[in-house]
């Protein structure tokens, strides 16, 4: 069994320690450790985190392999410090049967750059009318625990109620894409000052907030838990905060881009900024940061949404929504949350590893960095400063809003069950 000694790392940003990995597990954490024959990684005070877990990734396989595949997506994940990703169900065919989720799960195992946990669709074909075979997907080899029609909202209140009730049987969770469809017909960007000026269809905050308000009340009524995908407005934060204060079992996520970018960027009409939910205002960004800091928002999730060049190199209305995020997420979180003093690295570990693993029931991930635990680890150099160059992305797609932007931090090493998937910034 191979051994790796990570020497001189700040574990969760705390004290400098050595971590000895033996095979798939952490053998020892302490100071002055040595191990004969071990591969030594000199951390030089870099931050050691539990391997990151992304509860919201689009891998596009099956069906849109021109955008991303399980292989390229998991390579991107490893580059970004992730050891597990949850793959969204809006593939072609939709992941609404045991067969499709098992296919995705097996592809993840074969490629080995990170664990891939498929998310199952809530409704057949994401059409919002008939529940998918939630139990069969859970009982499959993929062991699905998270269900979502992401990309579309489960807007029928009865269907949403039934889904929340049904998944209680096996501890599942419904992850809602909160978007009231009638209020967002023709919507192309945040509704407000900028949309009025640009003549782009407005996407009102209330379209998100009204669904969240309904769903937390439904979750309370049926005694289930609900997860809210990609919060984007200050009002959504207030509703989740209220729901938690009331004891409702709700969790929520925010994307890195909603922590940094605003609808002012849309003035360029550059579709690289076209995303669902849309970029909001500075006030919303500040509220989201504050909510992530105080725990109202539980986790950071990338909503990594790869698209081929031609789907973005066009006029705004014709462009696909979404941006890639796996490889820049930690840098954006450092920039917006750590360097601003809102979160320390231990809290980053919580929001990007412990909590997402807990919400998604990803056993083996989001574990403490201590002896006997699976060696899923990420080493980060927070002092690094560099310009984002998408040409170097492992993802098959390049639709990043950060091209040419300087961002701090760099993932130098990623270990999946003791095996390096990223070594000195290069995929292993």
């Amino acid at each position: 069994m191979s051994k790796t000694l990570i020497r001189g790392a700040k574990v969760l940003g705390g004290e400098v320690q050595d971590v000895l990995v033996d095979g798939e597990t952490i053998a020892e954490v302490g100071t002055g450790l040595s191990a004969e024959g071990a591969t030594v990684v000199e951390a030089d005070g870099q931050i050691l985190l539990p391997g990151l877990v992304d509860l919201h990734t689009h891998l596009r396989e099956p069906g849109r392999e021109d955008s991303e595949t399980v292989l390229t997506g998991t390579r991107a994940a490893a580059s970004g410090g992730y050891t597990a990703v949850f793959a969204m169900a809006n593939t072609f065919p939709v992941a609404d049967t045991a067969g499709v989720v098992e296919q995705v799960w097996r592809l993840g195992r074969e490629h080995g750059y990170c664990d891939v946990q498929p998310i199952g669709a809530v409704t057949v074909g994401l059409e919002g009318r008939k529940l998918a075979e939630l139990g069969a997907m859970h009982e499959s080899a993929a062991g699905v625990t998270v269900f979502s029609d992401d990309g579309k909202c489960v807007d029928d209140a009865v269907i949403m109620r039934r889904a929340l009730e049904y998944v209680k049987a096996f501890g599942g969770v419904v992850a809602q894409h909160a978007q009231e469809p009638r209020l967002t017909e023709g919507a192309q960007m945040n509704e407000g000052v900028v949309s009025a000026e640009l003549g782009l269809g407005g996407w009102p905050a209330v379209a998100e907030e009204s669904i969240i308000a309904r769903d937390v009340l439904l979750a309370e009524h049926v005694g289930s838990r609900v997860h809210i995908c990609h919060l984007s407005t200050a009002g959504s934060v207030e509703i989740v905060r209220w729901a938690k204060s009331r004891g409702i079992d709700v969790t929520a996520e925010v994307t890195p881009h909603h922590l940094l970018l605003t609808d002012e960027m849309v003035r360029t009409y550059n579709p690289v900024y076209k995303v669902n939910p849309p970029l909001r205002t500075e006030r919303d960004v500040m509220a989201l940061r504050e909510a992530l800091a105080d725990g109202t928002i539980d986790i950071v999730a990338t909503d990594h949404a790869p698209h081929p060049h031609e789907d973005k190199d066009c006029e705004w209305a014709a462009a696909a929504m979404g941006m890639v995020g796996l490889e820049t997420a930690l840098s954006v979180v450092q920039h917006t949350m750590v360097d601003t003093g809102l979160l320390d690295w231990a809290a980053v570990a919580d929001r990007m590893s412990f909590a997402p693993a807990r919400i998604g029931s990803a056993t083996g991930h989001g574990r403490p960095v201590s002896a006997g635990e699976p060696a899923n680890l990420t080493l980060v150099d927070p002092a690094y400063r560099g310009t984002v160059d998408p040409a170097g992305f492992a993802s098959r797609s390049r639709n990043t809003p950060y091209e040419g932007r300087e961002l701090p931090g760099r993932v130098t090493h990623t270990f999946l069950r003791g095996r390096a998937t990223l070594m000195d910034g290069k995929l292993a």
Partner: protein, 334 residues
């Protein structure tokens, strides 16, 4: 002026007055037996119309031909676009053919901006209307019409619209004409009031340089011009207002309301008009209504824009007392 004309907000006060003055000079051509200048001889302009438009396309084509440009008309219908070709591919095809300017009409807001700023083509881009965003030459022709009516042909030269009060009525939410006019009229010093039902006023309008009212009657008595906007009948199905009849009662312009206007005030409409709903036939056909003038002025204004972007970078206006025809003497130097 900037290299492209994408938005009325791109124009400074001096830019806009220069266009209006140049258009005034172009208008003198209309009285000549041969309404043509050699200014853009040898230049090729493509009218790239991804959205149906009769009035604007013909107006641009007439303007281009009166300046002796070679004109290519492109309509998306039945073209490679209907076979799935993208705007980028179309633009690159035109670039390869060496067009000197592109006039683009597109249903997508921002399409002309993308065309001008994405490196797909290296030619001036003139926005002939994009989605619900902008229609800058419409705003210019409206301003030209207003200046002529409210100040005078000759007296208006060099003047802006300072102190003039313009009321714009109707579907502001979906109107590129309203957006363009608010920008340009404000730049020219006018005071603009938008009047519409609250459902047809965009969220965020508070940042626009204008007043907003939901009451047409109270706005009429103090304005120099009232500009009616087209209301698409399909809006009724989206519950923007209850019925055509109710809209007409609250926001339509009839003779009774027109009588509340000051005597000198004019009625404008970008066309095509929905008679009986937004404007009665009596008003539309009255001498105070400038709709037909606006169409004629559209050609002069578009000639001026094309001239300034492609042909000349100096004022085309000469003194009326000049012994030779001012327009011909200036433009033939180019």
């Amino acid at each position: 002026m900037k290299r492209h004309l994408i938005s009325a907000a791109d124009l400074t006060r001096d830019d806009a007055v220069l266009v209006l003055d140049t258009a005034e000079e172009m208008a003198r051509l209309a009285d000549r037996p041969i309404k043509k200048l050699p200014t853009l001889r040898g230049r090729t302009i493509c009218n790239l119309f991804f959205e149906d438009s009769t009035r604007t396309r013909i107006s641009f084509e007439a303007a281009e031909k009166r300046l002796s440009a070679d004109v290519i008309n492109f309509s998306a219908k039945g073209s490679s676009v209907s076979k799935g070709e993208s705007l980028k591919d179309t633009a690159q095809t035109l670039a390869a053919m060496g067009v000197d300017a592109v006039v683009i009409r597109h249903s997508a807001s921002g399409a002309p901006y993308r065309l001008a700023n994405s490196g797909w083509i290296d030619a001036p881009v003139i926005n002939a209307g994009d989605g619900t965003h902008q229609h800058p030459t419409q705003a210019l022709l409206d301003a030209f019409t207003l200046r002529r009516r409210l100040i005078g042909h000759e007296a208006g030269i060099g003047q802006d619209l300072s102190g003039k009060r313009i009321t714009i009525v109707g579907d502001v939410l979906h109107s590129r004409v309203a957006r363009s006019n608010v920008d340009l009229l404000h730049t020219l010093g006018a005071e603009v009031t938008l009047v519409a039902p609250p459902t047809l006023v965009p969220v965020g309008v508070g940042n626009w340089p204008c007043e907003v009212s939901y009451d047409l009657d109270s706005a009429l008595a103090k304005c120099d011009a009232v500009m009616m906007l087209r209301v698409q009948r399909e809006r009724m199905n989206a519950a923007f207002f209850p019925t055509e009849r109710e809209y007409s009662r609250r926001y339509g312009l009839d003779a009774q309301r027109m009588a509340k206007l000051p005597e000198h005030a004019v009625v404008m409409h970008p066309g095509p008009m929905v008679r009986g709903m937004e404007i009665t036939a009596e008003v539309a056909d009255s001498p105070r209504c400038t709709v037909v003038e606006q169409v004629a002025n559209g050609v002069f204004t578009r000639m001026a824009v094309l001239y300034l972007l492609l042909g000349g970078n100096e004022p085309a206006v000469t003194q009326p007392s000049s012994p030779s025809s001012p327009s011909s003497s200036r433009t033939e130097e180019k």
